[in-house]
């Protein structure tokens, strides 16, 4: 051994869930030329693009290889303030887009639970938001992608000209290449406030009935669900649904500057060391009880800031630390309409296992977009987070995988850190097409990630 243990530049990298760290060379290209060079020189273990690291699992990790930190590519190239088209680098965050575009009367077309994701990451995971039942996933609003593929070429993919490359990249977890830039169609809004209706559902059936009955009346709809509640209260929930407030809904004092983007001031970051087991059954049970009771039984038309409605967790920077050093896993699945029984069974199983989850969310998806590995499909999606150190969790989630796959559903790759490779093929029928396309554009297999290795994508 020439220089024992000398790896000065490689650093441990994890996803947002802080599980399974692996080490990689983190490179931060500041231009397209640097990105091309980084890809050409990344060595035998390849490279993967990484944005703001909000994928929960190992999607933006590449053990022993290179991780391209794309946040250095953060220019907004072109804004069409009349038509709402934006062309920007992949490293631009949705936060930045809101800052720039809201004053012009445009909002991001799809916003996930955090605005600290990049445009590249949003395309790679084909993210969805509370408006999926109306507006589909992120890729539906993308007009063009500039992509650096593994063969070193820079290509422009649009849904019309290069549909295969475009729809493989949308939801492709960064494995078709490094997204350099994209053109997005933004959503016109009159104000930066939301009108929100809040109501409680007493149990799962009540919740599903309410969601099914009038989701179509709201652009945005989501339900927080108490998965620790058992018996008759299984699946009790708080529904929050709303839309962008029209100008006339604003009180006079706010009408002067209706489009101001005012995210609430952020708290100090969560401490670096949090004792493990802080979020146990008791504490989460208490929180859930409080959260449910605090919610108004039925409230209409409340005005709320964008950030409070869409991104409550962004108020606490580094909130992922609250699970302690063991980290946490997110589990999000979707089962189609008609598979309500599977959903009920899974909710009951989670409840009877007393899984301490306080960020559980149920939502109805609308029409799917054509992304080959895109997650959303018409049906019910449930997302929950769990401490990774929970005993027996690994086997339990495997059982849920099987139940989801048997119901024709699927698990969201951007949140996955633990699925089995054989389940993946059952959940994503276009996986073989995706593999074929990958080997066509990246014959030397330059683009790869821990997720790709783990799931044999």
């Amino acid at each position: 051994m020439p220089v024992p243990f000398a790896a000065p530049e490689a650093v441990p990298v994890t996803g947002w869930g802080r599980t399974a760290p692996t080490s990689a060379l983190v490179l931060r290209p500041g231009s397209y030329e640097e990105a091309v060079r980084a890809l050409a020189e990344c060595g035998g273990r390849g490279a993967i693009a990484r944005g703001l690291g909000r994928a929960y699992g190992d999607a933006a990790q590449n053990a022993g290889g290179a991780v391209l930190d794309m946040t250095g590519l953060d220019r907004i190239h072109e804004i069409d303030a009349v038509g709402g088209l934006v062309t920007c680098d992949a490293g631009v965050s949705l936060h930045r887009l809101m800052q720039v575009m809201l004053p012009l009367g445009w909002f991001v077309p799809v916003s996930p639970g955090t605005r600290y994701v990049t445009v590249g990451g949003a395309i790679g995971a084909d993210i969805h938001g509370k408006n999926h039942h109306m507006s589909g996933s992120f890729s539906r609003h993308v007009r063009a992608i500039e992509l650096l593929t593994g063969d070193g070429e820079t290509r422009v993919a649009t849904p019309e000209d290069e549909p295969d490359l475009f729809w493989a990249t949308a939801g492709g977890m960064g494995l078709t290449g490094v997204i350099l830039a994209a053109t997005l169609q933004m959503l016109p809004v009159e104000t930066s406030l939301m009108t929100v209706d809040t109501e409680r559902a007493t149990d799962l059936d009540d919740l599903m009935a309410r969601l099914a009955a009038d989701d179509h009346r709201y652009r945005y709809s989501v339900a927080w669900i108490d998965l620790l509640a058992r018996g008759a209260r299984t699946g009790r929930a708080v529904l929050t649904r709303g839309d962008h407030a029209p100008l006339e809904a604003l009180p006079p004092r706010l009408r002067a500057d209706p489009l101001a983007f005012r995210p609430a001031s952020r708290l100090p970051a969560a401490p670096r060391f949090v004792p493990e087991g802080l979020l146990g059954r008791r504490s989460v049970g208490l929180f859930n009880e409080f959260w449910y009771r605090k919610a108004p039984r039925d409230q209409r038309g409340r005005l709320q800031k964008l950030a409070a409605f869409f991104h409550p967790l962004d108020g606490l920077p580094e909130w992922n630390r609250i699970y302690g050093r063991g980290g946490f896993v997110q589990y999000q699945f979707v089962v189609g309409y008609g598979q309500e029984e599977a959903l009920r069974r899974i909710v009951r199983r989670i409840g009877s296992r007393r899984c301490p989850s306080f960020l559980a969310v149920l939502k109805r998806f609308g029409e799917a977009d054509p992304g080959w590995l895109s997650f959303p499909m018409p049906g019910w999606t449930l997302a929950l987070d769990l401490p990774a150190t929970l005993p027996g969790l690994a086997a339990f989630l495997d059982e849920l995988d099987d139940e989801v796959a048997a119901a024709g559903g699927r698990v969201y790759l951007a949140k996955d850190a633990r699925m089995r490779p054989d389940v993946l093929a059952r959940m994503y029928p276009r996986l073989d097409d995706f593999r074929e396309l990958r080997s066509r554009y990246d014959p030397r297999r330059v683009i790869t990630s821990d997720l790709a290795r783990r799931l044999a994508v």
Partner: protein
């Protein structure tokens, strides 16, 4: 790749006929492990061990490996790593020796030291370096409580494990931040072929319990685990006993 719970998909067992090694392999095959390499001197036992794991559904390959020939380690293990990523290397080989005989036969004592210490040092270094190149993986090393404080009854074996244990502590720190996780396992008396016919010490355990503890340690990314866990406190007390008292203990 390991998943969020530290479960490996591929496993290399050094000491492919070790009962603890095989118990661990069986347990991990029950989780995520699909590819297993059993390294050891070629023998019918090694083939039988491979066959028993194949029946559980794993793809098993046997690899020629001799702890007493450190010069061959790099080549032998290099071949394994050339086939693909190894998520976990389990260093499970070791010999107990016969204390009474070995005290009379220095060469036999040296044999114990060479297998348990120098052979393990070489294999661990080769394994750790390979894991470091791939940027991830766990190196799990079977030490022993016998290395915690030398006992009259088995200090030759104990000293070899003490050396290995100290080596692994340092290696774990050297690997910190490299993506490689080094875990030292300190079991008490384990009921296996190696200890057959010996009087079991208090807090004795089984190979399956050690395997379960290893799986838990992987999930928690522990650096040191004791099996059973109570040994941590017990050995902490024993370590501080005054010598004249310790010598008189029926250990």
């Amino acid at each position: 790749m390991k998943d969020a719970f530290g479960a490996p998909q591929s496993l290399l067992v050094l000491g492919g006929t070790s009962e603890i090694g095989l118990a661990t392999a069986r347990r991990l095959i029950g989780r995520r492990t699909r590819t297993v390499f059993l390294a050891g001197r070629p023998s019918p036992q090694l083939d039988a061990a491979a066959q028993s794991l194949r029946r559980l559904g794993a793809t098993v390959t046997t690899v020629d490996f001799d702890a007493l020939d450190p010069a061959s380690h790099e080549v032998a293990l290099g071949k394994v790593f050339a086939e693909g990523d190894i998520d976990m290397v389990l260093l499970a080989f070791g010999v107990l020796g016969d204390q009474a005989r070995d005290e009379q036969d220095p060469l036999a004592a040296v044999h114990v030291a060479q297998v348990n210490y120098t052979g393990a040092v070489s294999a661990a270094l080769v394994g750790a370096t390979a894991l470091q190149v791939q940027g991830h993986g766990s190196l799990v090393v079977l030490s022993s409580v016998a290395g915690e404080r030398a006992r009259r009854a088995n200090f030759i074996y104990g000293s070899s494990k003490a050396g290995l244990d100290a080596f692994c502590q340092g290696l774990a720190d050297a690997m910190h931040g490299s993506g490689v996780h080094v875990m030292t396992v300190r079991p008490g008396f384990v009921h296996t072929r190696m200890t057959e016919g010996l009087e079991p010490a208090p807090l004795s355990t089984t190979a399956d319990e050690v395997a379960a503890a290893i799986e838990l340690g992987l999930r928690r990314r522990s650096t040191t685990i004791w099996v059973p866990g109570t040994l941590r406190a017990v050995m902490s007390a024993i370590r501080h006993l005054p010598r004249p008292l310790f010598r008189r203990l029926p250990l």
